[in-house]
Amino acid sequence: MSWEVVIGLEVHCQINTKTKAFCGCSTEFGAEPNSQTCPVCLGMPGQLPVLNDEAARKTILTGLAINANINLESKFDRKNYFYPDLPKGYQISQFAVPIVEGGYIDIPTKDGEKRLGVTRIHMEEDAGKSMHEGLDAVSHIDLNRSGIPLMEIVSEPDMRSADEAIAYLKQLHQIIKFLGVSGADMEKGQFRCDANVSVRRKGEPLGTRTEMKNMNSFRFIKQAIEFEVLRQIEIIEDGGEVKQESRLWDSVKNESRSMRSKEEAHDYRYFPEPDLPPLRVTQEEVDNIKAGMPELPNQLRKRFETEFGLSAYDADVLTQTQALAQWYEALVAAHPANPKQCANWLANELLGRLKELGKDISESPISAQALASLLDRIADNTISGKIAKDVLDAMMESGKDVDTIIDEKGLKQVSDTGAIDSMIQEVLDANPGQVEAYKGGQDRLFGFFVGQVMKASKGKANPAMVNQRLKELLG
């Protein structure tokens, strides 16, 4: 009997506000421990939270981007538990009425698009960080992160494989970066994921789920889910029962281990946060936020395919980030004749070179305008595509413009019939045997002659003309 995997995901995403969710402290990453704290985020007696409106605005924007409903009145609740890095002894969160409810994300699968439900997005505050390493027998607390605003994005249990889960996460990650609502840097813990995993035999009710906590790499999430699925199937097939528990993924040992079981699970005693009035927004405010929403990756992909005739693959590559998509559009605007060629040169040539330099498109040493002029020189036969690659290297290195480089290096394509004819004649004279063989029917040798002529011209001969004249001269 076949097994069905059921996965639901909870993503904690730091919202990139300048100041914390409920106080004016800076949210900048990597400062001296406890340097970005105040009496509010330290939970000092008598101190009160005041909501950062920007965090709400960005959560609403995210909700709109995943086609969700915005609750014009939402509420804050307290989630109570004791932990040293939780200064107040409770986290301010949204439990009963979150700000965003009921959206979806479409992911590509081999059977076409699949729609995955998003249950809700609520706002909450991050906790601090406990540090145990290198401090023998004592733990230290850094509360710089305490109070940084988070969105918790909770999916429906709609994913049926680790691959679907990763596709959902990547899509979400991309949308969030497009919206500019979070740095979403996974290494900095700005985008973290809990995965709820259960298995069942097809057609049976939901199995007992376990929760894999706090993962921040797509690779580990995939490994963890796959490991967990196999572990659960093995338990059931051995006649055992899966325990409802939280588990931690150990990326060094490539295995998960139990964190705490349901028996010791917390009773969070959620109740309405009396220090904060309900969060009210007007439909007009929501509409204004919507009006400012950038074009999202899915829309962009579709537009690139239809408007520019790109392949699905190219469209996907060029919409990975907003900066890249904008760069591509600038390139097409400057060289409108051939959007497909623009895509190839950007995706294959420029991005490849940037990758070797470890740079992002935003750090490209040449502009879209400069790459467009290079493509112009190919189009007007000044240089060949092959030479153009060398020119691009030179442009990347020196930052000089394309014409200067062509002049300086004497790379101008030879399109003069007389010059080409004499080069061809030299090659034919030097290889009488091959000419004989060609005429005797060995057509494959045509390529050999082309290569020899191009070599003789140091790549500068116009390849189309070489082809044409060779055919004529070989008769």
Partner: protein
């Protein structure tokens, strides 16, 4: 002098008859003389008090005096102040010194007040007798065998015994009005949201409100006008709250046309007969001054105490989670592990009443009981607000006794928390509904002061100030003071 009102002292200062330093010294002397007997203050820094008074005199020499220029004001130990300890009279806050002033403290300072010291209170404001203070109870100056009421008992005693002309308290279920009543003072709890709670150590956030304890209605109005106003640092502090001229509101000389509601649920069997008689007499007096007494009903009053003792401990149980020995306050010796540190530090730091309420609140919020307790209590709260709303369609203000009994003997009720909880039976509903309430002296029962409570619709403190001022004008109860602590007047 010790029993003069703020406005009298202000007049003397303005006339140049005394300096702020002389005034401060006079009260410091009285504190020195009497505080050991009364235990009203838990922290005094005489040097700092005199320095503030000197600064005030210097300011006055060069400027127009500010609204509270040179006036000594004591504050409950629940208000965070940068100078000296703030402990909420709890051992858990051992060694804590706030690096900030509460918003109201800043306002008082900016108005030129001289802050006298920290007054005794029930631990974390949980109590009605001031007997749960970690620093020991304080004594009612009218009869030192009796409690002064709570939780703002220290502030009440400090004013009643003439150790300061005015003090600040906080009122979560009656903690300003009840001790004011039991010590013969004016105590005002303003509308919830009128005064910022920032820097006031939280007991029950949705109920807590700071207010003045004074000798006269006008003094209460003066202090409240300074303390109130929007604070961007407290999201429950109301911006653009309806306002009025606080001192003008106190100029009423009669009660012509005033409709006073008399709720039958506040004149119940089991209340002290002398208290009832005094309050009835006070209402008769109001009638003589032109008021119309209207019998009304607030039918859900009987559920107020029960709802309060679910909501307040629920909020308190989580508000007090921050006292975890991690960042400040008391930490037990040699904890074995984290759990042990939490458990033992909190066990050693909190007193019995605080523990009782943390446990009650934790239980009421726990999964499976939330609906039966917390949610139900919130529904009762809505019904209570509704009762008042309907009543105020018929009357301008409501008058009731503040406490069903006069001050009781120390130790008499400490073993029976439920009886103790009933001390606040007439004040609690006002907090649940977020309304303003004022207590003023209206006579004596068994030689102890009796309080008359006024209740108005939200934001209409002017109505109770007017009624209370007219009554005060026509009577002499506010001029009585405990003979034992007479001093010179």
């Amino acid at each position: 002098m010790p029993f003069r009102s703020l406005s009298d002292i202000q007049a003397q200062l303005n006339a140049g008859e005394r300096t702020a330093v002389e005034v401060a010294q006079l009260y410091l002397d009285r504190i020195k003389q009497y505080n050991d007997d009364l235990n009203a203050f838990v922290h005094i820094d005489a040097e700092h008090v005199l320095a503030q008074a000197q600064a005030s005199d210097a300011y006055r020499a060069d400027h127009e005096p500010r609204p509270l220029e040179g006036l000594p004001i004591a504050v409950k130990d629940i208000f965070c102040t940068q100078n000296g300890p703030t402990r909420c009279c709890s051992n858990i806050l051992e060694g804590f010194e706030a690096p900030y002033d509460a918003h109201v403290i800043t306002r008082l300072k900016e108005a030129g007040a001289v802050l006298v010291g920290k007054t005794n209170m029930d631990e974390f404001a949980m109590g009605s007798s001031n007997e749960t203070s970690a620093f020991g109870g304080c004594k009612n100056p009218w009869n030192t065998d009796c409690i002064p009421g709570g939780s703002s008992g220290g502030s009440a005693v400090a004013v009643a015994a003439g150790l300061t002309p005015a003090a600040l308290g906080t009122d979560t279920g009656g903690s300003i009005r009840q001790p004011a009543a039991l010590t013969g003072l004016v105590g005002l709890k303003p509308t919830y949201g009128r005064i910022s709670r920032r820097g006031i150590i939280a007991f029950a956030s949705s109920l807590d409100q700071a207010g003045p304890m004074t000798r006269t209605v006008k003094d209460a109005a003066l202090l409240t006008s300074i303390m109130s106003g929007h604070d961007a640092g407290d999201a429950t502090s109301v911006a653009d709250a309806p306002n009025f001229d606080w001192l003008t509101a106190c100029e009423a000389k009669d009660m012509k046309g005033l409709k006073i509601g008399k709720p039958k649920e506040y004149f119940i069997d089991g209340m002290d007969e002398e208290v009832r008689a005094q309050v009835e007499a006070a209402l008769k007096k109001c009638e003589d001054m032109g008021a119309e007494i209207v019998d009304i009903s607030l039918p859900h009053t009987e559920y107020a105490v029960a709802a309060y003792y679910v909501i307040a401990p629920s909020e308190a149980s989580t508000n007090l989670s921050r006292y975890d020995a991690v960042r400040f306050g008391h930490r037990c010796d040699n904890p074995e592990d984290l759990e042990d540190m939490y458990a033992r530090s909190r066990d050693e730091g909190f007193g019995d009443e605080v523990k009782r309420r943390i446990l009650t609140g934790t239980f009421a919020l726990s999964s499976g009981y939330y609906d039966a307790y917390y949610l139900k209590a919130q529904k009762v709260r809505t019904l209570i607000s509704q009762d008042f709303k309907e009543a105020f369609e018929k009357v301008d203000v409501i008058a009731t006794p503040t406490s069903p009994i006069p001050a009781f003997k120390s130790g008499e009720k400490t073993e029976d928390p439920l009886t103790m909880y009933l001390s606040d039976i007439f004040t609690i509903a006002v907090n649940l509904a977020g309304l303003p309430g004022l207590s003023q002296p209206c006579g004596f029962a068994q030689g102890l002061p009796v309080g008359l409570q006024w209740i108005a619709p939200a934001w209409q403190e002017d109505k109770i100030l007017a009624a209370a001022s007219a009554y005060e004008n026509a009577t002499d109860w506010h001029n009585q003071h405990p003979k034992e602590f007479g001093g010179e007047t």
